[in-house]
Amino acid sequence: MSNGILVFAEHRAGAFNKTSFEAIAAAQQLGTSLQQPVTAVVLFTDDSLAREVAAYNVAKVISAENPSLAEYTPDAYTDAMEQVVRATDPQYVIMPHTYLVRDYAPKLSARFGKGVISDCIRANASGDRVTFSRRIFLGKIDADVVSDGEPPVFATFQSGAYRAEQAEKGSGAQIESMPVEVGEVRMQPEPAFQEVKQAVDLTKTDVIVAIGRGIKSQENIALAQGLADALGGDLAASRPICDAGWLPIDRQIGSSGQTVAPKLYVALGISGAIQHLVGMKNAGTIVAVNKDPEAPIFDIADYGIVGDLFEVVPVLTEEIKRLKG
Protein backbone atom coordinates (compact mmCIF):
# COMPACT_ATOMS: atom_id res chain seq x y z
CA MET A 1 0.00 0.00 0.00
CA SER A 2 1.17 3.50 -0.76
CA ASN A 3 2.78 5.19 2.17
CA GLY A 4 5.03 8.09 2.93
CA ILE A 5 5.96 11.42 1.44
CA LEU A 6 8.53 11.85 -1.27
CA VAL A 7 10.10 15.29 -1.53
CA PHE A 8 12.07 16.46 -4.55
CA ALA A 9 15.19 18.53 -3.77
CA GLU A 10 16.15 20.68 -6.73
CA HIS A 11 19.62 21.82 -7.62
CA ARG A 12 21.15 23.60 -10.55
CA ALA A 13 24.73 22.67 -11.32
CA GLY A 14 25.10 21.28 -7.81
CA ALA A 15 23.64 24.24 -5.92
CA PHE A 16 20.39 23.51 -4.10
CA ASN A 17 17.57 25.94 -4.57
CA LYS A 18 16.33 27.57 -1.33
CA THR A 19 12.80 26.55 -2.24
CA SER A 20 13.96 22.91 -2.05
CA PHE A 21 14.44 23.34 1.70
CA GLU A 22 11.07 25.03 1.90
CA ALA A 23 9.62 21.94 0.23
CA ILE A 24 11.44 19.77 2.75
CA ALA A 25 9.86 21.85 5.55
CA ALA A 26 6.43 21.36 3.94
CA ALA A 27 6.99 17.61 3.60
CA GLN A 28 8.20 17.30 7.21
CA GLN A 29 5.12 19.10 8.54
CA LEU A 30 2.84 16.94 6.44
CA GLY A 31 4.75 13.86 7.55
CA THR A 32 4.31 14.79 11.22
CA SER A 33 0.55 15.37 10.83
CA LEU A 34 0.01 12.19 8.86
CA GLN A 35 2.56 10.17 10.83
CA GLN A 36 4.24 9.12 7.63
CA PRO A 37 7.95 9.00 6.85
CA VAL A 38 9.53 11.57 4.54
CA THR A 39 11.98 10.47 1.86
CA ALA A 40 13.96 13.04 -0.11
CA VAL A 41 15.13 12.48 -3.65
CA VAL A 42 18.08 14.06 -5.47
CA LEU A 43 18.73 13.49 -9.18
CA PHE A 44 22.35 13.56 -10.35
CA THR A 45 25.14 11.51 -11.88
CA ASP A 46 26.38 10.24 -8.49
CA ASP A 47 25.59 10.59 -4.77
CA SER A 48 27.86 13.60 -4.14
CA LEU A 49 24.94 16.03 -3.79
CA ALA A 50 22.74 13.80 -1.66
CA ARG A 51 24.84 14.45 1.45
CA GLU A 52 23.69 18.03 1.86
CA VAL A 53 20.09 16.84 1.91
CA ALA A 54 20.91 13.94 4.26
CA ALA A 55 21.65 16.53 6.96
CA TYR A 56 17.89 17.11 7.22
CA ASN A 57 15.51 15.11 9.33
CA VAL A 58 14.24 12.64 6.73
CA ALA A 59 13.94 8.86 6.81
CA LYS A 60 16.33 8.54 3.89
CA VAL A 61 17.66 10.26 0.80
CA ILE A 62 17.37 8.54 -2.54
CA SER A 63 20.13 9.45 -4.92
CA ALA A 64 18.76 8.65 -8.37
CA GLU A 65 21.77 8.33 -10.64
CA ASN A 66 22.40 8.36 -14.37
CA PRO A 67 24.97 10.17 -16.55
CA SER A 68 22.06 11.89 -18.35
CA LEU A 69 21.12 13.64 -15.11
CA ALA A 70 24.22 15.85 -15.16
CA GLU A 71 22.08 18.62 -16.57
CA TYR A 72 18.37 19.24 -16.30
CA THR A 73 16.16 18.15 -19.19
CA PRO A 74 12.47 17.34 -18.83
CA ASP A 75 12.90 13.98 -20.59
CA ALA A 76 15.67 12.72 -18.31
CA TYR A 77 14.16 14.10 -15.10
CA THR A 78 10.75 12.63 -15.86
CA ASP A 79 12.13 9.18 -16.62
CA ALA A 80 14.22 9.21 -13.46
CA MET A 81 11.50 10.50 -11.17
CA GLU A 82 8.93 8.11 -12.57
CA GLN A 83 11.13 5.20 -11.49
CA VAL A 84 11.73 6.66 -8.05
CA VAL A 85 8.00 7.27 -7.52
CA ARG A 86 7.12 3.75 -8.66
CA ALA A 87 9.83 2.22 -6.48
CA THR A 88 8.90 4.15 -3.34
CA ASP A 89 5.11 4.16 -3.88
CA PRO A 90 4.44 7.30 -1.81
CA GLN A 91 1.08 8.87 -0.99
CA TYR A 92 2.36 12.37 -1.67
CA VAL A 93 5.06 13.75 -3.92
CA ILE A 94 6.02 17.26 -2.78
CA MET A 95 8.02 19.66 -4.93
CA PRO A 96 8.89 23.37 -4.94
CA HIS A 97 6.98 25.41 -7.54
CA THR A 98 10.06 26.55 -9.42
CA TYR A 99 10.53 27.13 -13.14
CA LEU A 100 12.35 23.78 -13.33
CA VAL A 101 9.58 21.86 -11.59
CA ARG A 102 6.90 23.58 -13.67
CA ASP A 103 8.79 22.33 -16.70
CA TYR A 104 8.72 18.62 -15.86
CA ALA A 105 6.34 17.83 -12.97
CA PRO A 106 3.18 17.85 -15.16
CA LYS A 107 4.89 15.43 -17.54
CA LEU A 108 5.69 13.19 -14.57
CA SER A 109 2.17 13.33 -13.13
CA ALA A 110 0.75 12.61 -16.60
CA ARG A 111 2.52 9.25 -16.47
CA PHE A 112 0.30 8.51 -13.49
CA GLY A 113 -2.80 9.71 -15.35
CA LYS A 114 -3.23 12.97 -13.46
CA GLY A 115 -2.15 16.57 -13.00
CA VAL A 116 -0.32 18.37 -10.22
CA ILE A 117 -1.94 20.34 -7.40
CA SER A 118 0.29 23.24 -8.26
CA ASP A 119 1.52 26.39 -6.56
CA CYS A 120 0.09 25.60 -3.10
CA ILE A 121 0.50 27.96 -0.19
CA ARG A 122 -0.70 25.62 2.59
CA ALA A 123 -1.54 22.01 3.32
CA ASN A 124 -3.68 20.93 6.24
CA ALA A 125 -4.15 17.34 7.29
CA SER A 126 -7.20 16.23 9.19
CA GLY A 127 -7.24 12.51 9.83
CA ASP A 128 -5.67 11.09 6.71
CA ARG A 129 -7.20 13.68 4.40
CA VAL A 130 -5.06 16.56 3.20
CA THR A 131 -6.54 19.82 2.01
CA PHE A 132 -4.23 21.86 -0.17
CA SER A 133 -4.76 25.59 -0.56
CA ARG A 134 -3.66 27.29 -3.72
CA ARG A 135 -3.93 30.83 -5.06
CA ILE A 136 -6.07 31.38 -8.12
CA PHE A 137 -6.90 34.45 -10.21
CA LEU A 138 -3.35 35.78 -9.94
CA GLY A 139 -3.44 35.71 -6.16
CA LYS A 140 -6.84 37.33 -5.69
CA ILE A 141 -8.62 34.22 -4.37
CA ASP A 142 -7.64 31.08 -2.46
CA ALA A 143 -9.00 27.65 -3.36
CA ASP A 144 -9.06 24.63 -1.07
CA VAL A 145 -8.43 21.48 -3.05
CA VAL A 146 -8.62 17.78 -2.22
CA SER A 147 -7.67 14.77 -4.28
CA ASP A 148 -10.26 12.00 -4.59
CA GLY A 149 -8.04 9.89 -6.80
CA GLU A 150 -5.58 7.10 -6.11
CA PRO A 151 -2.17 8.00 -4.71
CA PRO A 152 0.32 9.39 -5.40
CA VAL A 153 -0.85 12.98 -5.13
CA PHE A 154 1.60 15.41 -6.74
CA ALA A 155 1.76 18.88 -5.18
CA THR A 156 4.06 21.87 -5.62
CA PHE A 157 4.52 24.68 -3.09
CA GLN A 158 4.93 28.33 -3.86
CA SER A 159 8.18 30.02 -2.98
CA GLY A 160 7.86 31.50 0.52
CA ALA A 161 4.90 29.33 1.53
CA TYR A 162 7.16 27.59 4.07
CA ARG A 163 10.40 28.92 5.44
CA ALA A 164 13.62 27.13 4.61
CA GLU A 165 14.78 27.63 8.24
CA GLN A 166 11.78 25.58 9.36
CA ALA A 167 13.27 22.51 7.71
CA GLU A 168 14.45 20.37 10.61
CA LYS A 169 17.99 19.06 10.66
CA GLY A 170 18.55 15.43 11.62
CA SER A 171 21.40 13.19 12.63
CA GLY A 172 22.40 12.24 9.11
CA ALA A 173 19.93 10.31 7.01
CA GLN A 174 20.91 7.19 5.16
CA ILE A 175 21.65 7.69 1.44
CA GLU A 176 20.33 5.06 -0.94
CA SER A 177 21.86 5.06 -4.42
CA MET A 178 19.34 4.12 -7.07
CA PRO A 179 20.64 3.70 -10.60
CA VAL A 180 17.84 4.76 -12.96
CA GLU A 181 17.27 4.21 -16.66
CA VAL A 182 16.84 7.22 -18.89
CA GLY A 183 15.42 6.85 -22.39
CA GLU A 184 16.08 9.11 -25.35
CA VAL A 185 16.63 12.74 -24.30
CA ARG A 186 15.23 14.91 -27.06
CA MET A 187 16.05 18.36 -25.68
CA GLN A 188 19.60 19.58 -25.80
CA PRO A 189 20.42 22.37 -23.33
CA GLU A 190 23.03 25.05 -24.00
CA PRO A 191 24.78 26.77 -21.06
CA ALA A 192 22.57 29.09 -18.98
CA PHE A 193 23.51 32.77 -19.15
CA GLN A 194 22.55 36.22 -17.90
CA GLU A 195 21.84 39.10 -20.26
CA VAL A 196 24.50 41.81 -20.38
CA LYS A 197 24.69 43.93 -17.27
CA GLN A 198 21.55 45.91 -16.71
CA ALA A 199 21.75 49.64 -17.35
CA VAL A 200 19.68 50.47 -14.28
CA ASP A 201 20.45 48.92 -10.92
CA LEU A 202 17.37 49.37 -8.80
CA THR A 203 18.78 47.37 -5.91
CA LYS A 204 20.66 50.44 -4.70
CA THR A 205 17.88 53.03 -4.66
CA ASP A 206 16.07 54.02 -1.48
CA VAL A 207 12.77 54.97 -3.04
CA ILE A 208 10.95 53.19 -5.84
CA VAL A 209 7.70 54.22 -7.48
CA ALA A 210 6.41 51.22 -9.40
CA ILE A 211 3.62 51.25 -11.94
CA GLY A 212 1.38 48.43 -13.09
CA ARG A 213 -1.25 47.94 -15.71
CA GLY A 214 -3.47 50.40 -13.82
CA ILE A 215 -1.41 53.21 -15.39
CA LYS A 216 -3.37 52.46 -18.58
CA SER A 217 -1.14 54.11 -21.19
CA GLN A 218 2.44 55.05 -21.87
CA GLU A 219 1.62 58.77 -21.77
CA ASN A 220 0.46 58.47 -18.17
CA ILE A 221 3.89 57.30 -17.04
CA ALA A 222 4.94 60.95 -16.75
CA LEU A 223 2.56 61.25 -13.80
CA ALA A 224 4.38 58.48 -11.91
CA GLN A 225 7.72 59.94 -12.94
CA GLY A 226 6.63 63.21 -11.35
CA LEU A 227 5.97 61.42 -8.06
CA ALA A 228 9.29 59.57 -8.26
CA ASP A 229 11.08 62.88 -8.84
CA ALA A 230 9.33 64.53 -5.90
CA LEU A 231 10.38 61.62 -3.69
CA GLY A 232 13.90 61.55 -5.13
CA GLY A 233 13.39 57.98 -6.27
CA ASP A 234 13.40 55.76 -9.33
CA LEU A 235 10.65 54.44 -11.54
CA ALA A 236 10.02 50.70 -11.83
CA ALA A 237 7.21 48.52 -13.14
CA SER A 238 5.36 45.24 -13.15
CA ARG A 239 5.91 42.87 -16.01
CA PRO A 240 3.02 43.85 -18.34
CA ILE A 241 4.41 47.41 -18.55
CA CYS A 242 7.78 46.09 -19.73
CA ASP A 243 6.12 43.47 -21.97
CA ALA A 244 4.28 46.30 -23.71
CA GLY A 245 7.60 48.11 -24.21
CA TRP A 246 6.49 51.14 -22.18
CA LEU A 247 9.53 50.81 -19.93
CA PRO A 248 12.72 48.82 -20.55
CA ILE A 249 12.99 45.37 -18.98
CA ASP A 250 15.69 46.50 -16.56
CA ARG A 251 12.96 48.39 -14.69
CA GLN A 252 10.93 45.23 -14.11
CA ILE A 253 10.50 44.06 -10.53
CA GLY A 254 9.74 40.42 -9.72
CA SER A 255 10.71 36.83 -10.23
CA SER A 256 11.86 37.47 -13.78
CA GLY A 257 13.10 40.99 -13.07
CA GLN A 258 15.01 42.63 -10.24
CA THR A 259 14.63 41.88 -6.54
CA VAL A 260 14.71 45.07 -4.51
CA ALA A 261 14.41 46.15 -0.88
CA PRO A 262 14.21 49.96 -0.87
CA LYS A 263 13.18 52.01 2.15
CA LEU A 264 9.99 53.02 0.36
CA TYR A 265 8.11 51.17 -2.39
CA VAL A 266 5.04 52.83 -3.86
CA ALA A 267 2.94 50.46 -5.99
CA LEU A 268 0.55 52.29 -8.31
CA GLY A 269 -2.09 50.17 -10.07
CA ILE A 270 -0.28 46.89 -9.38
CA SER A 271 -2.47 43.95 -8.35
CA GLY A 272 0.22 42.07 -6.42
CA ALA A 273 0.67 38.75 -8.20
CA ILE A 274 3.16 36.49 -6.42
CA GLN A 275 5.72 36.89 -9.21
CA HIS A 276 5.73 40.60 -8.51
CA LEU A 277 5.65 40.31 -4.71
CA VAL A 278 8.76 38.11 -4.52
CA GLY A 279 10.71 40.99 -6.03
CA MET A 280 9.70 43.68 -3.51
CA LYS A 281 8.16 42.23 -0.37
CA ASN A 282 11.24 43.02 1.70
CA ALA A 283 10.92 46.76 1.14
CA GLY A 284 10.88 48.82 4.36
CA THR A 285 7.63 50.69 3.86
CA ILE A 286 5.18 49.57 1.21
CA VAL A 287 2.45 51.85 -0.12
CA ALA A 288 -0.26 50.58 -2.46
CA VAL A 289 -2.74 52.60 -4.47
CA ASN A 290 -5.36 50.45 -6.14
CA LYS A 291 -9.01 50.87 -6.94
CA ASP A 292 -9.77 47.24 -6.01
CA PRO A 293 -10.02 46.83 -2.21
CA GLU A 294 -9.37 43.08 -2.59
CA ALA A 295 -6.16 43.51 -4.60
CA PRO A 296 -3.54 41.16 -3.08
CA ILE A 297 -0.98 43.96 -2.99
CA PHE A 298 -2.81 45.28 0.09
CA ASP A 299 -1.86 42.12 1.93
CA ILE A 300 1.72 43.30 2.14
CA ALA A 301 1.17 47.06 2.17
CA ASP A 302 1.79 49.19 5.24
CA TYR A 303 -0.31 52.02 3.85
CA GLY A 304 -3.10 51.61 1.35
CA ILE A 305 -5.35 53.93 -0.56
CA VAL A 306 -8.34 52.34 -2.22
CA GLY A 307 -9.00 54.64 -5.12
CA ASP A 308 -8.12 55.93 -8.54
CA LEU A 309 -4.39 56.50 -8.92
CA PHE A 310 -5.09 59.38 -11.28
CA GLU A 311 -6.73 61.23 -8.40
CA VAL A 312 -4.21 60.16 -5.78
CA VAL A 313 -0.90 60.76 -7.53
CA PRO A 314 -1.21 64.48 -8.37
CA VAL A 315 -2.26 65.32 -4.80
CA LEU A 316 0.42 63.09 -3.30
CA THR A 317 3.09 64.64 -5.51
CA GLU A 318 2.08 68.17 -4.52
CA GLU A 319 1.90 67.30 -0.81
CA ILE A 320 5.31 65.74 -0.86
CA LYS A 321 6.81 68.72 -2.63
CA ARG A 322 5.21 70.96 -0.04
CA LEU A 323 6.48 68.89 2.91
CA LYS A 324 9.93 68.72 1.44
CA GLY A 325 9.84 72.37 0.33
Binding site: P74, K140, A143, Q188, A244, S256, G304, V312
Partner: protein
Protein backbone atom coordinates in the same frame (compact mmCIF):
# COMPACT_ATOMS: atom_id res chain seq x y z
CA UNK B 1 4.88 24.55 -40.92
CA UNK B 2 1.54 23.82 -39.33
CA UNK B 3 1.11 25.50 -35.94
CA UNK B 4 -1.73 24.94 -33.52
CA UNK B 5 -2.29 27.63 -30.91
CA UNK B 6 -4.27 26.75 -27.81
CA UNK B 7 -6.13 29.76 -26.45
CA UNK B 8 -8.24 29.97 -23.32
CA UNK B 9 -10.88 32.50 -22.47
CA UNK B 10 -10.72 33.87 -18.92
CA UNK B 11 -12.49 36.55 -16.90
CA UNK B 12 -11.40 40.11 -17.49
CA UNK B 13 -8.42 40.97 -15.30
CA UNK B 14 -9.84 44.29 -14.19
CA UNK B 15 -13.09 42.78 -12.97
CA UNK B 16 -13.98 42.97 -9.30
CA UNK B 17 -14.48 39.30 -8.44
CA UNK B 18 -17.37 37.99 -6.40
CA UNK B 19 -17.58 34.47 -5.01
CA UNK B 20 -20.61 32.37 -5.97
CA UNK B 21 -23.16 30.99 -3.52
CA UNK B 22 -21.62 27.49 -3.47
CA UNK B 23 -18.22 29.05 -2.79
CA UNK B 24 -16.72 26.91 -5.54
CA UNK B 25 -16.17 29.53 -8.23
CA UNK B 26 -16.73 33.18 -8.98
CA UNK B 27 -20.00 34.74 -10.13
CA UNK B 28 -19.63 34.66 -13.87
CA UNK B 29 -22.88 36.49 -14.58
CA UNK B 30 -21.35 39.91 -14.13
CA UNK B 31 -18.01 39.15 -15.78
CA UNK B 32 -16.75 40.14 -19.16
CA UNK B 33 -14.29 37.74 -20.77
CA UNK B 34 -11.03 38.11 -22.63
CA UNK B 35 -8.25 35.95 -23.96
CA UNK B 36 -5.75 34.62 -21.44
CA UNK B 37 -2.79 36.98 -21.58
CA UNK B 38 0.04 34.61 -22.46
CA UNK B 39 -2.13 32.78 -25.01
CA UNK B 40 -2.40 36.06 -26.90
CA UNK B 41 1.38 36.14 -27.10
CA UNK B 42 1.41 32.49 -28.23
CA UNK B 43 -0.81 33.44 -31.18
CA UNK B 44 1.43 36.38 -32.05
CA UNK B 45 4.47 34.11 -32.09
CA UNK B 46 2.66 31.63 -34.33
CA UNK B 47 1.72 34.37 -36.78
CA UNK B 48 5.32 35.59 -36.91
CA UNK B 49 6.63 32.07 -37.49
CA UNK B 50 4.16 31.64 -40.35
CA UNK B 51 5.28 34.94 -41.87
CA UNK B 52 8.89 33.72 -41.79
CA UNK B 53 8.47 30.10 -42.74
CA UNK B 54 5.06 29.78 -44.37
CA UNK B 55 2.40 27.27 -43.36
CA UNK B 56 -0.81 27.47 -41.44
CA UNK B 57 -1.96 28.70 -38.02
CA UNK B 58 -4.89 26.86 -36.48
CA UNK B 59 -6.45 28.19 -33.29
CA UNK B 60 -8.05 25.83 -30.81
CA UNK B 61 -10.15 26.92 -27.86
CA UNK B 62 -12.38 24.94 -25.55
CA UNK B 63 -15.37 26.01 -23.52
CA UNK B 64 -18.93 27.27 -23.90
CA UNK B 65 -20.19 29.25 -26.92
CA UNK B 66 -18.78 32.47 -25.50
CA UNK B 67 -15.23 31.34 -26.36
CA UNK B 68 -16.14 32.01 -30.01
CA UNK B 69 -15.26 35.64 -29.34
CA UNK B 70 -11.66 34.62 -28.57
CA UNK B 71 -11.62 32.51 -31.72
CA UNK B 72 -13.03 35.26 -33.92
CA UNK B 73 -10.51 37.73 -32.60
CA UNK B 74 -7.67 35.29 -33.34
CA UNK B 75 -8.97 34.75 -36.87
CA UNK B 76 -9.20 38.52 -37.34
CA UNK B 77 -5.59 38.87 -36.24
CA UNK B 78 -4.53 36.40 -38.89
CA UNK B 79 -5.06 32.79 -37.85
CA UNK B 80 -6.19 30.65 -40.81
CA UNK B 81 -8.89 28.55 -39.22
CA UNK B 82 -10.12 27.32 -35.86
CA UNK B 83 -11.30 24.37 -33.83
CA UNK B 84 -13.81 25.00 -31.08
CA UNK B 85 -14.15 22.19 -28.54
CA UNK B 86 -17.61 22.98 -27.26
CA UNK B 87 -18.95 22.17 -23.80
CA UNK B 88 -20.33 24.23 -20.96
CA UNK B 89 -18.30 22.72 -18.15
CA UNK B 90 -15.00 22.37 -19.95
CA UNK B 91 -13.48 25.29 -18.07
CA UNK B 92 -13.55 23.26 -14.84
CA UNK B 93 -12.22 19.83 -15.78
CA UNK B 94 -8.67 20.05 -14.44
CA UNK B 95 -5.40 20.02 -16.33
CA UNK B 96 -5.07 16.31 -17.13
CA UNK B 97 -8.60 16.10 -18.48
CA UNK B 98 -8.15 19.34 -20.45
CA UNK B 99 -5.00 17.96 -22.03
CA UNK B 100 -6.73 14.65 -22.83
CA UNK B 101 -9.59 16.47 -24.55
CA UNK B 102 -7.23 18.76 -26.44
CA UNK B 103 -5.07 15.82 -27.53
CA UNK B 104 -8.12 14.09 -28.97
CA UNK B 105 -9.20 17.22 -30.84
CA UNK B 106 -5.87 18.10 -32.43
CA UNK B 107 -4.35 14.65 -32.88
CA UNK B 108 -5.53 14.24 -36.48
CA UNK B 109 -4.10 17.62 -37.47
CA UNK B 110 -0.51 16.39 -37.18
CA UNK B 111 0.95 19.79 -36.32
CA UNK B 112 4.64 20.63 -36.46
CA UNK B 113 4.31 22.92 -33.50
CA UNK B 114 1.78 23.44 -30.72
CA UNK B 115 1.98 26.78 -28.90
CA UNK B 116 0.12 27.90 -25.82
CA UNK B 117 0.48 30.39 -22.99
CA UNK B 118 2.52 29.39 -19.94
CA UNK B 119 -0.45 29.42 -17.57
CA UNK B 120 -3.99 30.66 -17.30
CA UNK B 121 -4.90 33.74 -15.35
CA UNK B 122 -7.86 32.02 -13.63
CA UNK B 123 -6.96 28.53 -12.35
CA UNK B 124 -3.25 29.07 -12.95
CA UNK B 125 -2.42 25.35 -13.15
CA UNK B 126 0.55 25.98 -15.47
CA UNK B 127 0.52 22.40 -16.74
CA UNK B 128 -2.05 21.72 -19.46
CA UNK B 129 0.53 22.33 -22.20
CA UNK B 130 3.17 20.08 -20.65
CA UNK B 131 0.70 17.24 -20.04
CA UNK B 132 -0.52 17.58 -23.62
CA UNK B 133 3.06 17.28 -24.88
CA UNK B 134 3.41 14.03 -22.94
CA UNK B 135 0.12 12.69 -24.32
CA UNK B 136 1.15 13.59 -27.89
CA UNK B 137 4.68 12.27 -27.22
CA UNK B 138 6.15 15.64 -28.26
CA UNK B 139 9.24 17.19 -26.68
CA UNK B 140 8.39 20.49 -25.01
CA UNK B 141 9.81 23.62 -23.44
CA UNK B 142 8.10 26.02 -21.03
CA UNK B 143 8.37 29.75 -20.34
CA UNK B 144 9.72 30.39 -23.83
CA UNK B 145 10.67 33.94 -24.80
CA UNK B 146 12.25 33.41 -28.23
CA UNK B 147 11.78 30.82 -30.98
CA UNK B 148 14.19 30.10 -33.81
CA UNK B 149 12.68 27.69 -36.34
CA UNK B 150 15.15 28.32 -39.16
CA UNK B 151 17.39 25.31 -38.54
CA UNK B 152 17.02 21.56 -38.68
CA UNK B 153 16.12 21.51 -34.99
CA UNK B 154 13.93 23.99 -33.21
CA UNK B 155 15.88 26.36 -30.91
CA UNK B 156 14.09 28.10 -28.07
CA UNK B 157 15.18 30.54 -25.40
CA UNK B 158 13.73 29.82 -21.98
CA UNK B 159 13.42 32.22 -19.10
CA UNK B 160 14.90 30.87 -15.86
CA UNK B 161 14.61 32.54 -12.46
CA UNK B 162 16.22 35.84 -11.46
CA UNK B 163 17.49 37.05 -14.80
CA UNK B 164 18.94 33.80 -16.14
CA UNK B 165 18.18 32.36 -19.58
CA UNK B 166 18.93 29.17 -21.44
CA UNK B 167 18.63 27.96 -25.00
CA UNK B 168 17.35 24.45 -25.70
CA UNK B 169 17.13 22.71 -29.04
CA UNK B 170 14.78 19.88 -29.93
CA UNK B 171 13.27 18.10 -32.91
CA UNK B 172 9.79 18.87 -34.17
CA UNK B 173 6.93 18.24 -33.72
CA UNK B 174 7.19 20.03 -30.38
CA UNK B 175 5.06 21.93 -27.88
CA UNK B 176 6.09 25.27 -26.41
CA UNK B 177 4.48 27.30 -23.64
CA UNK B 178 5.01 30.98 -24.33
CA UNK B 179 5.79 33.69 -21.80
CA UNK B 180 4.05 37.06 -22.02
CA UNK B 181 6.15 39.74 -23.68
CA UNK B 182 7.79 37.49 -26.29
CA UNK B 183 6.91 40.13 -28.88
CA UNK B 184 4.48 43.00 -29.39
CA UNK B 185 0.95 41.83 -30.13
CA UNK B 186 -0.72 43.11 -33.29
CA UNK B 187 -4.29 44.31 -33.30
CA UNK B 188 -6.92 43.07 -35.68
CA UNK B 189 -7.35 45.34 -38.69
CA UNK B 190 -10.70 46.06 -40.29
CA UNK B 191 -9.58 43.99 -43.26
CA UNK B 192 -8.68 41.16 -40.89
CA UNK B 193 -12.07 41.33 -39.24
CA UNK B 194 -13.82 41.14 -42.63
CA UNK B 195 -11.59 38.26 -43.78
CA UNK B 196 -12.25 36.36 -40.55
CA UNK B 197 -15.93 36.04 -41.40
CA UNK B 198 -15.09 33.58 -44.16
CA UNK B 199 -12.71 31.46 -42.13
CA UNK B 200 -13.63 28.00 -40.93
CA UNK B 201 -14.52 27.33 -37.28
CA UNK B 202 -14.90 23.59 -36.83
CA UNK B 203 -16.93 22.72 -33.76
CA UNK B 204 -16.20 19.41 -32.06
CA UNK B 205 -17.32 17.82 -28.81
CA UNK B 206 -15.14 15.63 -26.62
CA UNK B 207 -15.76 11.89 -26.63
CA UNK B 208 -17.18 10.27 -23.53
CA UNK B 209 -13.86 8.51 -23.15
CA UNK B 210 -11.85 11.74 -23.11
CA UNK B 211 -14.30 13.24 -20.65
CA UNK B 212 -14.03 10.27 -18.33
CA UNK B 213 -10.37 11.18 -17.94
CA UNK B 214 -11.81 14.03 -15.92
CA UNK B 215 -11.71 11.95 -12.73
CA UNK B 216 -11.29 14.34 -9.87
CA UNK B 217 -7.65 14.40 -8.98
CA UNK B 218 -8.15 17.88 -7.69
CA UNK B 219 -11.56 18.89 -6.53
CA UNK B 220 -12.14 22.42 -5.30
CA UNK B 221 -14.03 22.27 -2.03
CA UNK B 222 -14.16 25.98 -1.31
CA UNK B 223 -12.87 29.30 -2.57
CA UNK B 224 -12.49 32.45 -0.49
CA UNK B 225 -10.62 35.72 -0.32
CA UNK B 226 -7.17 35.22 1.23
CA UNK B 227 -6.91 35.97 4.92
CA UNK B 228 -5.01 39.20 5.31
CA UNK B 229 -1.87 38.70 7.34
CA UNK B 230 -0.67 42.27 7.51
CA UNK B 231 -2.42 45.21 9.14
CA UNK B 232 -2.61 47.72 6.35
CA UNK B 233 -3.50 51.27 7.37
CA UNK B 234 -6.14 52.32 4.88
CA UNK B 235 -6.19 56.03 4.32
CA UNK B 236 -8.80 58.41 2.97
CA UNK B 237 -11.76 56.15 3.57
CA UNK B 238 -12.89 56.25 -0.05
CA UNK B 239 -11.75 59.84 -0.65
CA UNK B 240 -8.66 59.38 -2.79
CA UNK B 241 -7.45 62.97 -2.45
CA UNK B 242 -7.81 63.04 1.32
CA UNK B 243 -5.98 59.70 1.40
CA UNK B 244 -3.11 61.18 -0.59
CA UNK B 245 -2.72 64.10 1.81
CA UNK B 246 -2.80 61.79 4.84
CA UNK B 247 -0.30 59.49 3.20
CA UNK B 248 2.22 62.26 2.61
CA UNK B 249 1.97 63.19 6.27
CA UNK B 250 2.38 59.57 7.44
CA UNK B 251 5.37 59.03 5.19
CA UNK B 252 7.02 61.94 6.93
CA UNK B 253 6.01 61.42 10.55
CA UNK B 254 5.56 57.65 10.90
CA UNK B 255 7.58 55.98 8.21
CA UNK B 256 10.11 58.84 8.12
CA UNK B 257 10.91 58.27 4.49
CA UNK B 258 10.59 61.91 3.47
Amino acid sequence: MKIIVLMKQVGNKDAILRINRDETWIEEGDLSFEVNESDGYALEEALRLREKHGGEVVVCSMGPQRVKSVIKDALARGADRAIHIAGDDLAHVGPFASATILAEAIHGEQPDLVLTGLQSDDYGFAQTGVILAELLKFPHATIVIEVDASGERLRVKRELESGWYQWYSMPTPALLTIQSGISQIRYATLKGIMAAKKKEIREVTPSAEALSGAAQHQRVTKIYFPLKTKQTQFLGNGDAKAGAAQLAEKLRTEARVI
